[in-house]
Amino acid sequence: MTVIDHQSDMTFARADKSGKGPVTAARQRRTAMIYAAVWALGLLPLLTGASAGWQAAGLGLWMPGAGFVAVGGWAALLFPLTLALFVVSLIAWFWAGLVLAPVTVWGGTALIAGAMATNGATAIDYGVVLAAMAGVTYFFRNRNETARVAGLAKRMTRAALLPASLAEVNVKAAARPDETTREIAEDDLKSLRYLLDRALQPVNEFNGFDIIDQFQPAALRYQINHMGFALGIAQGAYMPNFQGYMGQAQRNLIEKYLLRKVWGYWVYESCWGHLNFTNFDPAAKDNIMLTGWFGMHVGQYMLNSGDRRYGEKGSLTFRLNDKTSYVHDLHTIIGSVVSNYDRYNEQFCLYPCEPNWIYPICNHYGMTSLATHDRLYGTTHVAKFLPGWLDKLDTEFTNEAGSIIGLRSQHLGFEVPFPVGEAGYANFADCFAPERARRLWAIARKEIEPAITVDADGKKRISLPGKGIDAGNYSAGHTASYGSILMGAREFGDEEIAQAALRSLELDCNMTEAGGTRRYLKGSNLANISAATGRLMRVGDFRRSFVEGPSEATLKGPMLTDASYPQVLVARAYSHGDDLELALYAGIADGAQEIALGQLKAGATYAVTGAPTPSITADDKGTARLTVLLSGRTAISIRPL
């Protein structure tokens, strides 16, 4: 994989002060011209002395529902009602790519007003609508200008604190743990079990998942992907030489993702967003929220396990019904990301999730998926796309404060103002642009610092303002934020912030431990996954699991291929090449358990320490079984004689 870093001059925002890049400016000009044309069209009935109906319909083109002003009487009340409905239609457009919704509301109400009108529009009617237009325009211009000024001031503040903070981050992020000795702490196994319990259930069951809608952040696909990320991180960091239930859990999640229940949202979005009623292939045009995320997920599993089955044709087939399937594998999933970046290269380069809506965060997933594929198969996708991608990110998707914006309309060019924290992007950027990632975290940590307080026990904690919001189930709460901060802090070695986030999770999120599992009852499943991931992570683990992976020698060494879950909990499974080192705990009760080993040298004898049997001999397939006595932490070593 090629890592290219852009903007090594430590700036983090574009020099252009207009607030928009050239593509954005062009799209906004086009939008303005289209609106001007529609406005002129709406004026024509008045100029030509057309009938009352045409005049009302024309006025309705100026603003959603404005035609009802010309109808007069009680019908005028439909004007504000239509405006409210128009806002709802915009939400539907954004929520599920329902591009027809605002068009239908605007155009439809103009026609209805035309049908209702009996008297021609008066000068007062036009005046009222023009005043409303002026009010809306003033509101948005004023808000944008206020945001622009505040953003520039924030940028200055950030620029002042960045160098010192970055220097600290560079030191902390360099302190990566020794991968040859790593082991999950017994306490953290409780978080791993939260993930394994859910991932090891039958593929078509979703117990323990939040099931609300399949369009937005609470969708099953996001829970599945992030659960896979967490397990992949644990696999690569602590147990690259454990297949068994760890591999099964990750494969279960990948298989779950292929169920129509999970990806079927795209059938609807294709229809009402792309007006495509025949081809619902989820890995074709747009939909980076599937291809980017799933590409990362599958690629990470392959990288950390050595399992290459998902590179085979048809291994990731999305079945629509008995007659129609969309045959894919990792290469074609990544191929979709590549072809979309090719298609949109001359435009925004970054491309949409739902039809029309471009989310930079999902494009970070997409670029990471390319980096993982490059690492696995020696492709050069990142080298090809990253320079232009970063350029567009900086010029089209970065605001005056230097922050990456939340989302932009592909067709209209307008930005939807939403504050997105730098911490959310940093881990992903660490996979393909590590210097940029450290800059993002250097900003984030300084903006988190004021929220660090000391609790009654004298321990540091994070105190976030307000009730917070959990994207995983659309409820109030800070669990998701603490989890996200924890992940960022762990990735860049900011242990003080990590400990403060852990303390807040413990105090604020109704943490309970039952059945050997830790969970936060005030959080969604997605928030719990973030918290569990953060607990398992150490410095650089996110990057390691997506673009580095275990060494070839480790993956070729002896493997723990089978152990019962939850009877046998694996905290470490690592090979230097010929040996195997295990650290096991009893998940239910101390006592004897049988485990299976594989990838041994056929017929070779191995010395065993930590188990009743002093030696084992591999059969002609290179496998062997071993009985172990679990009591507390049980360390087992297997070395060739």
């Binding site: 929520w95 259930q201 952040p217 994207a471 959080g523």
Partner: protein, 117 residues
């Protein structure tokens, strides 16, 4: 974290406004303390009896909480106002006077009575 955080942002604003209006009209509810997320509570072997409620937000629960007598009175009042406004608008557009409308309604009632006989 998720790509679609804007949805949460928008919903949050709507929910916030709604909560403010609701609190203003009906006061603070006793059950505002959030119940634990039952999806998170799940563990292998858990039975339906152990998890008595759906893991998704319960719409029936929401309805039970929302359909208070005050809310029903408010909703009916709004419906009546809208209905009356709609009738007045239709009558006005059709060129009928209020008297014409009353006569038409009386005729409809009379016909209905005769049909019943």
């Amino acid at each position: 974290m998720a790509c679609c955080a804007f949805a949460v942002f928008l919903l949050g604003q709507i929910a916030f406004a709604w909560e403010r209006v609701r609190t203003f009209v009906f006061g603070i509810r006793a059950d505002t303390e959030r119940p634990p997320n039952l999806a998170v509570l799940w563990q292998p072997g858990a039975t339906a009896a152990a998890l008595p409620l759906s893991t998704a937000p319960s719409w029936t629960h929401w309805l039970r909480r929302t359909l208070t007598p005050q809310m029903i009175i408010l909703a009916v009042s709004v419906e009546l106002m809208m209905g009356a406004g709609g009738l007045a608008f239709i009558a006005h557009q059709a060129g009928y006077s209020a008297a014409d409308l009353n006569a038409a309604l009386a005729m409809i009632c009379q016909n209905g009575h005769m049909a019943a006989l």
